[in-house]
Each structure stands twice: as structure tokens, then as C-alpha cells.
Amino acid sequence: MERTAIRRRLTWQAGTVTEVRAETASARTVVLDVPDWPGHLAGQHLDVRLTAPDGYQASRSYSIASAWSGSGTGPGIGTTVELTVEQVPGGEVSPYLVDVIRPGDPLEVRGPVGGWFVWKPEQEGPIQLIGGGSGVVPLMAMLRAHAAAASTTPARLLYSVRRPEAVIYVSDLKELAASDDIEVTFAYTREAPPGEQRAPARIDAGLLASVTFQPEDAPTTYVCGPTPFVETVADLLVAAGHDPARIRTERFG
């Protein structure tokens, strides 16, 4: 495993919600302006901290959905951070971010964190992104970084999702997929849209062989989603001959 050196003290920073967007029935994108945001790499996450009037606090980590445009070139650019949050039933922080928070509200954040599950435009070789459910969020940040950098690195996203209405970023993904360098494949697991040739099913070796980069393409592969999903996909990739050292995973739940 290669190493990246990102060590500096992280402090809590005050952000302000500037926009909220419904992505699906249970997922929402929260757009923040964080004046002192130091910038981030696609794939990193941040901690969100909520404080009740009596001082009680709760914090959780969320993947950053937005690409950062590098050094600021205009008002606001470089200080905007987007989070896409899927509501966890019985959760403590996600229901607040999905149902309660409004534009104008403050939100404290700390980050960015994580230097492994990241993509940098200067990185060599094709990128294969494989996401399950809201595991698409950090992968979307990578596709957005790819677009922002006008990268010609071949990139493919395989997005496993229960049904069409559960797709997060549907219009953004269609727009990105129109690029010559990005391919997007949806793998519906419960219900496919009309006209879809593949019957609803989980990702299997056959699908990976037909729509993802092959071991000889030497991609860096990023797999993100619930643990059973990541475990299955990563095992299939290793069995297909991919170098485990080029497979990066991020799991939740």
C-alpha cells in the first residue's frame, strides 16, 4: 500500500447551509459554505457535529460529494462543500440532516479526513468505481473531480441500486456519462426500469467481466457501499485476477 502524507491539525469550523436538494425519497444533498475550508481530495470525508441547546453533542462522518476546484479563483469557489446523506432509520444525525436542516442554518464540520480512498487527477491508469446504494457518494466526487480537471483518464462507474427511483445524482450521472471518457452502468438489484435488458440481480462475476476494466487494464478500483456488498465485490475482483493492492475499499454499516 502506498502512503500519502496528509498530517495537520484539524479544527471544528463553522459552515452555513446554503442549499438543500432532495436526491431521492431518503437522501438529500446539503450544500455548505465553509469560509476557512482548506480544500479536499475527491473521496475524502468530514465529520459533522450537532449541538443541542443544553450542550449535548453528536458527531458522524460523511463522504464529501463535491469536487473541490483547487485554489480559489472567484468568490465562494473553494469554500463550498456538498454532503449527500442517506437517512439511516433510527439514526441520530442523518435524520436531522435529511429532514430538519434548512438553508441559513449553521453546521460545524471538521476535515477533510482520509488519504487512501481518494483519486487525484494526476494519478495514472484507468479508474473503476463500484458503488452500492449511497456508496456512490465519494465515487461521485471522483467523477466530478475528473470532469473539473477535464481529465481524459478512462473512468467507469458500476452503480448497484435497488430500483430506478433510488438512484442518487441521476441527471448528473447521465450528463457525465455523455463524456467520451466516462461510462456509467446501473445494476438494478430489485426492480429494473422498462427496457433494461438485465433482470434485477446483484453484481456477479459475469457483470464485472462485461462492464468493468479487466486486470490487464491495471485500473485502480474503488469499491464503496455496505459491508456485505464491498466484501462480495472485492472478493470477486480478486478472484478475477485484479491485484488486491489496487483495490481500495470503503465500507459502512
Binding site: 500500500m1 502512503r3 500519502t4 502524507a5 496528509i6 498530517r7 495537520r8 491539525r9 484539524l10 471544528w12 463553522a14 457535529r49 450537532l50 449541538t51 443541542a52 441547546p53 450542550g55 449535548y56 453533542q57 453528536a58 458527531s59 458522524r60 462522518s61 441520530e92 436531522y96 430538519v100 436542516i101 434548512r102 442554518d105 449553521p106 453546521l107 460545524e108 471538521r110 479526513v113 482520509g114 488519504g115 487512501w116 480512498f117 459491508t227 466484501e231 472485492a234 472478493d235 475482483l237 480478486v238 488486491p244 493492492a245 483495490i247 481500495r248 475499499t249 465500507r251 459502512f252 454499516g253
Partner: protein, 198 residues
């Protein structure tokens, strides 16, 4: 106290036996940076190298022939979940290091799959750390670090390296995988040492 979040009251009820910022889970979440290595017992080996380069080895048979202990400990993950009263079986590092000649202060732990993490040697001694190979009465599942993992329950769980294969003793402190990526070099949950500089 931070900036008050309008409309937030919190779920509470975490309990006083949790370190600050942690919540209780009854699940056993899995967090790792890459695919799960599947290491067969007959290929498994643990080595300890001291600061002069002298190496001590144990194969699976030798490890499991050593005196083992049952261990019941709380686990605290830097991603904020805590799991209480987990039950393990393993070999104390006091046993493994008893005959290793060393004056080193630091250890770099290496795993199958390439993961590394650093600790002070004193945190592995005096009944604080084990090479664990059973969880809840069963052989340790590969997802959770089987065949064997380091278990250092008093530090955040990323220090308890899964798929452990070697300890390298050193006079100077180097940084491991997550420590190089911005996490704390020590990782005391009770002091919330999550990230560098905490």
C-alpha cells in the same frame, strides 16, 4: 460547546461507560482499506523482529500451542461506534515477547495485505494486548482479521491490526497506514485522539 444546531435535541442514552463522542452498537461493523486477505493456516506465520534484526517466528501450530487466555473487552472504533463486552481468545503479547531481547520503545505492526500501524511497545505489554484467533467462541472470521489479529482494546480499533503477520521493534517512532493519512499517532479513545494533533 459548539454552535447550537436549530431543532437538534439528540438521541442520548449512550451510557457513561463509553468514551466521549462514541455511540453504542450491538453489530460488529467491518472497516478495512482493501479486500479481505484470505490467509490459510498452513501458510500463516507471525514474526517479531527486534531492533538488531533478530527474528522470532511462530507458525499456526506454534502459536496455538502457546498458553492462551479468554479476554472480555470493550471495543472503540474511531468512526464512533463502541461495542461492549466482546469475547476473544488469544495469546498475550507478554508471552510472545517474553524471550525477545529488546530495549526498543516502538513497534510497527505489519499485516497480510500491506496494512501497518504503529504503537509504543509499552502499550503491548502488561496484559494490554493479544494475538487473538477466536471471537465469541468461534475461529476469527477473515472479515474481522482472521486467522489472527492484534487486539489492543485500550486504543482505537485501527491499532488492533487485522491479519497480523509481523511486529518490528524500533528505537524510533515511524507512522503506520492511517497515521500517515491523518489519524492520531497514539489513539486514546478516552482522550478522543482521532486525528493528528488531537
Amino acid at each position: 460547546m459548539g454552535i447550537v444546531s436549530p431543532g437538534f435535541t439528540g438521541r442520548r442514552g449512550a451510557g457513561s461507560d463509553l468514551p466521549p463522542g462514541q455511540y453504542l452498537t450491538h453489530e460488529f461493523p467491518v472497516l478495512s482499506a482493501g479486500p479481505t486477505p484470505h490467509v490459510r493456516h498452513e501458510h500463516w506465520e507471525l514474526t517479531v523482529a527486534n531492533e538488531t534484526g533478530e527474528v522470532t517466528r511462530w507458525d499456526w501450530k506454534a502459536l496455538t500451542a502457546l498458553p492462551s487466555e479468554k479476554i472480555t473487552k470493550d471495543l472503540h472504533c474511531v468512526t464512533r461506534w463502541s461495542k461492549l463486552g466482546t469475547e476473544w481468545k488469544g495469546v498475550s503479547l507478554d508471552v510472545l515477547l517474553a524471550d525477545v531481547e529488546t530495549g526498543a520503545d516502538f513497534v510497527m505492526v505489519h499485516s497480510y495485505g500491506g496494512y501497518t500501524t504503529n504503537l509504543p511497545l509499552e502499550d503491548l505489554l502488561d496484559g494490554q494486548a493479544w494475538i487473538a484467533y477466536e471471537y465469541d467462541g468461534e475461529p476469527l472470521h477473515p472479515e474481522h482479521g482472521g486467522p489472527a489479529r492484534l487486539l489492543v482494546p485500550h486504543l482505537y480499533l485501527w491499532k488492533s491490526a487485522k491479519w497480523v503477520r509481523g511486529l518490528v521493534l524500533s528505537d524510533s517512532e515511524d507512522l503506520g497506514f492511517w497515521e500517515t493519512a491523518g489519524y492520531h499517532e497514539y489513539g486514546d479513545p478516552w482522550k478522543e485522539q482521532r486525528y493528528a494533533g488531537d
